[in-house]
């Protein structure tokens, strides 16, 4: 866990500078385009200006270091982002050493992990950084050799003059290059000239991971550091009334026990300030074991919280209801709401008339439970508060989003806060909510010591920021020829609706209606791998399967037919998808899986496709059911995420998404009884395990020249419905409620 050379941050405004001992360092403030990045809507955040900065360091011995700006949680940006720079810089990838950049707004204006945006937003800016450095080295070489730039070429970190046979390393020219101005016209390679992009490269951190090196926040330690944990209400809807820590304080190794308030009462809540409980009891001690034992001796009195209002940064008031909520009640509430008119999100044609005149209507309702993130590395953060400064070592996806709240809560300027970014043992959206950093800082301040705040697994599961519980009711209307004439989606959830009203099949059906509803709740919810899409896809793609069967059509052919309509003659003006790319992944998965081929006739297979985060994914799954056991033989995934920077990492991600999705579809659920989560650890929260993973996963990418789009999330949502559709083939039963496995009879 090395700290970035402080030179880097202090000189971040310098475009380029010399290194002592020769060499160059390059950091470009890059304003790619004064246009908001589209589709950040997936995470429901304000559009941001796209700015990316990165660093390259070339030493005189030709060793090359590239700083990876974005926080890493397993999406492998520490490999793929530096590859973008190395490609244009024209260096040998084996020469490159990668280091994580620390939080630094001036050096790295977009340190953001979420929404499958990493490679997409870095695609041109980071390549420009590499190309600029290469051009400067060429200029320096041309001046040193007194030869025109046009006669020089670069490859593998060497500058060559073919005619004279001269060849020198970048390191030779780095010091001179550092004195040159940044070139104005920076030329990027055409895709066909790529030597590194598109080649499979192994995770640069893999050797350290395989040796168990202390890469994670959980592993951070320093002299004098204490361990802290927090004790919180046993159920959602409760709060701290009073507590007695006399006995707990006498426990071995315990330093102090005190309450903290995460946010002040007048806090203006930004979108990612979610925290499950505002007032918690901090226990600080010498070791995790000491603290865990002392927690049990605290005598706390909890009480039911009253309804309260929370003010947002935009002055929008949210009401958090009082009460101890239960899953059975949530489902009953959602069912009731689905019978009442919802908020109309989209309407095409005259759906009411079409349904009234229909010869046949199919109506189905799909539900899904809350899901806990279950990041393998539980929530944690190191903080050391000294004077009016605080230093963090934090696993955090989007430091920029919690920073204003840290500033507001601690009352210290932003300049006094430093964050060392560490590798995250998973994120999936959970670490976009940085309340734990505030907690750690408050504890460090009160304890007057460096502190590592740790959540136990039970804390992490039972006080999470969950994927909401959702419901979607679909209705399809058919004429006497079994032609689909109208489509109606009504979706809602606790406490948000999953609907994406302008996505497929909107645009493909003349009469279309989408309605939403919400059920207020005090259960905390947030982003979870492909928010909303992860449920939409599950419900919609199951329903399409069922209606294609009624129409007597092949499920893939039926989807292609709808997409063809959306392509040729779309209904409505706003359709958030590209029908051709959608069709592309369906055709690819059909061909690669041998869909409809006689040799596959006996297989219990299901198909599904979805679009989210600017990318398209389709999956075919083959499975078998024996009693209540599901064996997955194979998953075939087709993906269109534009140019694939690192096919090795991309495949790994798509395989993981399939396994994660199958696990959540079959087993995943967080249920509540009177505000208390029924699952608290992995002995009760059912995760997919080795023997339940697919025996084989094939991943295929659509080859095209489209700039990279998202990858971390898109292959996750469709697999849920592929599982449901294959289960139908295997059992003759349709599955409408997640998780599916408990409905199988042993």
């Amino acid at each position: 866990m090395k700290k970035t050379d402080s030179n880097y941050s202090r000189r971040s405004f310098l475009k380029v500078s010399s290194l002592s001992g020769g060499g160059m360092m390059l950091g470009i403030s890059w304003f790619a385009r004064a246009k908001p990045v589209e589709s950040l809507g997936e995470l429901n955040i304000e559009p941001v200006w796209q700015e990316v900065t990165s660093f390259i360091k070339i030493a005189s011995d030709n060793s090359i270091k590239i700083f990876s700006p974005n926080p890493e949680f397993g999406q492998n940006v520490m490999t793929s982002l530096p590859m973008l720079i190395a490609e244009e810089l024209d260096v040998d990838w084996k020469q490159v050493e990668v280091e994580q950049g620390n939080y630094d707004n001036k050096a790295f204006p977009r340190q953001f992990t979420g929404g499958s945006q990493g490679v997409r937003t870095a695609w041109k800016p980071l390549r420009t950084v590499g190309a600029a450095a290469r051009q400067m080295i060429l200029t320096a070489a041309s001046q040193a050799w007194n030869l025109p730039v046009s006669e020089l070429t670069t490859a593998n970190g060497m500058v060559t003059h073919a005619f004279s046979g001269k060849s020198e390393s970048y390191g030779t020219f780095a010091a001179a290059a550092a004195k040159l101005p940044i070139p104005k016209d920076i030329v990027l390679k055409g895709n066909q000239s790529f030597r590194l992009i598109g080649t499979p490269q192994k995770n640069v951190v893999a050797p350290k991971i395989a040796q168990g090196k202390p890469l994670f926040g959980m592993d951070y330690r320093e002299a004098g550091m204490l361990i802290a944990m927090t004790e919180r209400p046993p159920a959602f809807g409760m709060r701290l009334k009073s507590f007695d820590a006399t006995a707990a304080k006498k426990m071995p190794g315990i330093v102090d026990i005190f309450p903290i308030k995460v946010f002040n009462d007048d806090h203006k809540f930004a979108g990612f300030d979610t925290r499950s409980f505002n007032e918690v009891i901090a226990v600080v001690g010498k070791s995790t074991w000491d603290v865990m034992n002392a927690r049990k001796k605290i005598k706390a009195v909890w009480e039911v919280a009253l309804e309260r209002k929370e003010m947002g940064v935009n002055n929008r008031e949210t009401t958090v209801p009082s009460g101890l909520e239960s899953t059975t009640k949530h489902y009953a509430q959602m069912l009731e709401m689905s019978k009442k008119p919802g908020v109309i999100e989209r309407k095409d044609g005259d759906p009411e008339k079409a349904f009234a005149e229909a010869k046949h209507v199919i109506e189905r309702t799909y539900t899904a439970p809350f899901l806990a993130h279950n990041i393998m590395e539980p929530t944690n953060t190191f903080a050391h508060y000294v004077g009016d400064k605080v230093r963090f070592v934090a696993p955090i996806q989007i430091p920029d989003w919690i920073m204003p709240s840290i500033v507001a809560r601690l009352g210290i300027p932003k300049e006094n806060i430093s964050i060392e970014l560490v590798r995250m043992g998973g994120g999936f959206g959970r670490r976009a909510y940085g309340h734990y950093m505030i907690e750690a800082a408050l504890i460090s301040k009160q304890a007057n010591a460096p502190v590592k705040l740790i959540y136990s697994r039970e804390d992490d599961v039972s006080a999470g920021i969950y994927r909401p519980s959702y419901q979607l009711t679909y209705r399809a209307a058919f004429d006497e020829n079994k032609k689909l004439i109208a489509f109606h989606a009504k979706g809602g959830g606790v406490p948000e609706s999953p609907l994406h009203a302008n996505r497929f099949p909107a645009g493909a059906i003349d009469n279309y209606l989408a309605e939403s509803f919400v059920i207020p709740s005090n259960i905390t919810i947030g982003a979870f791998r492909a928010p909303r899409s992860n449920f939409n896809a599950a419900a919609e793609q199951s329903f399409l399967d069922e209606i294609s069967e009624y129409m007597g059509k092949d499920p893939i052919a039926f989807r292609l037919e709808l997409l063809q309509r959306a392509k040729d003659n779309p209904v409505g003006k706003t359709n958030d998808y590209d029908a051709s790319r959608y069709m592309g992944v369906l055709e690819l998965v059909r061909d690669k899986s041998g869909w409809g081929k006689p040799e596959n006739a006996g297989k219990k297979r299901g198909v599904s496709a979805y679009f989210c985060h600017n990318s398209y994914a389709a999956q075919v799954i083959d499975l078998q059911v024996k009693g209540d056991q599901v064996t997955v033989d194979q998953v075939t995934t087709a993906l269109d995420c534009g140019v694939v920077v690192n096919p090795e990492g991309a495949k790994n991600m798509a395989e993981g998404a399939a396994i994660d999705g199958i696990g959540n579809a079959l087993f995943g659920q967080l249920t509540l009884t009177d505000g208390r989560t029924d699952q608290r650890n992995f002995d009760t929260y059912r995760m997919i395990r080795h023997n339940e993973a697919p025996k084989k996963i094939d991943v295929h990418f659509v080859k095209n020249e489209i700039d990279p789009t998202g990858l971390g999330e898109p292959p996750f949502p469709p697999i849920f419905a592929a599982v449901a559709n294959a289960l139908y083939k295997a059992t003759g039963k349709r599955f409408y409620q997640q998780p599916f496995q408990p409905q199988l009879k042993s």
């Binding site: 168990g212 202390p214 959980m218 071995p252 002995d683």
Partner: protein, 153 residues
């Protein structure tokens, strides 16, 4: 009760003072500063804390320090000197890891499996590895890496 213990870890003897019930996991992480062994659940359900006890894979979160006298403990730090155990090499070669947090435990389980079953079937691998959870979903690669390590060792 705080007592003095002498532990044999990675072929070295360590003198430790700790509560008799303190699990080996926290002895390793908080007292000895050996943080390759990870905390995932503390209840024996995830395998992140897997170490070898006299050569067998065990969950260190379930082992009180008082039960370890005379035992030979191996952690990921002691699996090989330079990260070149066949299992570690296969892990890098197959590019198994995503976030990487579960992988110390996966590797320790895999190494123990291969020690006792040098040529495991797919089913052997699945059954033996079932106690190790990976939220990122790297199971198929783990299996491939174990098969690769088996043929190379």
């Amino acid at each position: 009760m705080i007592k003095k213990y002498s532990l044999r870890i990675n072929k070295k003897v360590h003198q430790v003072e700790a509560d008799e019930k303190m699990p080996l996991l926290w002895v390793l992480r908080d007292i000895l500063g050996m943080e390759g062994t990870k905390y995932g659940c503390g209840v024996g359900s995830c395998g992140a804390c897997t170490v070898h006890l006299n050569g067998d894979a065990v969950r260190s979160c379930q082992l009180p320090i008082s039960a370890l006298a005379g035992m030979e403990i191996t952690t990921i730090e002691g699996l090989s000197a330079k990260g070149d155990h066949p299992v570690q090499k296969a892990w890098v070669d197959v590019d198994v890891a995503q976030c990487g947090y579960c992988q110390s435990g996966q590797i320790m389980s895999a190494a123990a499996l291969l020690k006792n079953t040098p040529n495991p079937t797919e089913e052997d691998i699945e059954n033996f590895m079932t106690g190790n959870i990976c939220r990122c979903g790297t199971y198929t690669r783990i299996k491939k890496a174990i098969q690769q390590a088996a043929t190379k060792s």
